[in-house]
């Protein structure tokens, strides 16, 4: 099972290099990039904060977008709480490493019992945390030393990362419709509302499409 956890932690951690590079290309300092990986520690939210700020959005828009993407970690916590049964400092650590990957590996171990789920959760969460932070630093230092980010293609790496994050979620027709509507709405609203707000406005699409079961 340690192998399961590491086989998730190492590749995911290496996306941290893409994050570190994207953050620096987007105007964040190396220290800020590392602070996001240490303190926020949730890939989609981190990329969103960087994306909104790099696009000229306000800090409030960046925080709101990051928070909306972070809600699912709270839902994972609700799922994991009765299994992990944490308190005190362990609850703080457990909460911080509650992300897609740790929860995913834990749930995949369900048939082996709660002990295996706990082990999978912590091995994956801690592993991803270590690699993610190490590679963030490497990516940020690398991008810091190369000069013009566009001449290295880093300006396309950020939207490509978002595309890579959304792609596995486009599992059915309704999901693909949500994606297309959202691509279009955000683009159409940007010249009117400025950076940041149009992204948050697309939550309306999630409200409408999720309102009724289909």
């Amino acid at each position: 099972m340690l192998r399961d956890s590491l086989s998730v932690a190492i590749p995911v951690g290496s996306y941290g290099a893409a994050f570190g590079a994207a953050a620096v290309a987007g105007g964040f300092s190396v220290l800020q990039a590392c602070a996001l990986s240490l303190l926020l520690f949730s890939g989609a939210s981190q990329f969103a904060v960087v994306g909104v700020m790099a696009g000229g959005g306000s800090a409030l828009s960046a925080i709101t977008t990051g928070a909306l993407l972070g809600i699912r970690n709270g839902l994972y916590g609700m799922r994991m709480a009765p299994i992990l049964n944490l308190s005190g400092i362990r609850k703080l650590i457990g909460a911080q490493i509650t992300i897609d990957e740790s929860t995913g590996v834990a749930i995949s171990q369900e048939s082996r019992g709660e002990g295996a789920m706990r082990y999978g959760f912590f091995a994956t969460g801690v592993g991803v945390f270590l690699f993610w932070n190490l590679f963030t630093l490497i990516g940020a230092l690398g991008a810091n030393s190369i000069g013009d980010p566009s001449s290295w293609g880093l300006d396309a790496a950020v939207p490509a990362a978002f595309l890579g994050l959304v792609w596995p979620r486009l599992v059915d027709k309704k999901a693909r419709m949500a994606a297309l509507l959202s691509l279009t709405l955000a683009l159409a609203l940007t010249p009117i509302l400025g950076a940041g707000l149009p992204i948050i406005a697309t939550v309306l699409i999630a409200l409408v499409l999720g309102w009724k079961a289909s």
Partner: protein, 102 residues
């Protein structure tokens, strides 16, 4: 404090709070099918919006440039099920080639 630090620390604090709340609220709080369905769409719409805005706008203006070429190559790479790092590298390489040579 600069806007970038406010965004960095503010988003970190709220995202940690959201994680922590999950361990502190009873599971029934959000155990409503409608909330679950809406929440499933939230990452899809936000990430998609970020794709188009990051690909096609600069400071609130719509601008078509080398980024679009990079992202289209990324889409092809994802369709071909290549790994995440390889997809990112193909996107960056395409964009860099267009930027430097076209």
């Amino acid at each position: 404090m600069t806007e970038l630090w406010i965004a960095t620390l503010g988003a970190s604090a709220i995202c940690f709070l959201l994680k922590f709340l999950g361990y502190s609220l009873p599971e029934s709080t959000l155990n409503n099918p409608r909330i679950q369905r809406i929440n499933n769409f939230v990452p899809i719409v936000l990430l998609s919006a970020l794709v188009s805005v990051q690909t096609l706008t600069i400071e609130s203006k719509i601008i078509v440039d080398q980024r679009l070429a990079g992202v289209l190559v990324a889409a092809i790479a994802l369709k071909m099920r290549v790994s995440f790092p390889l997809m990112m590298i193909s996107a960056a390489l395409t964009s860099a080639l267009v930027y430097n040579f076209i």
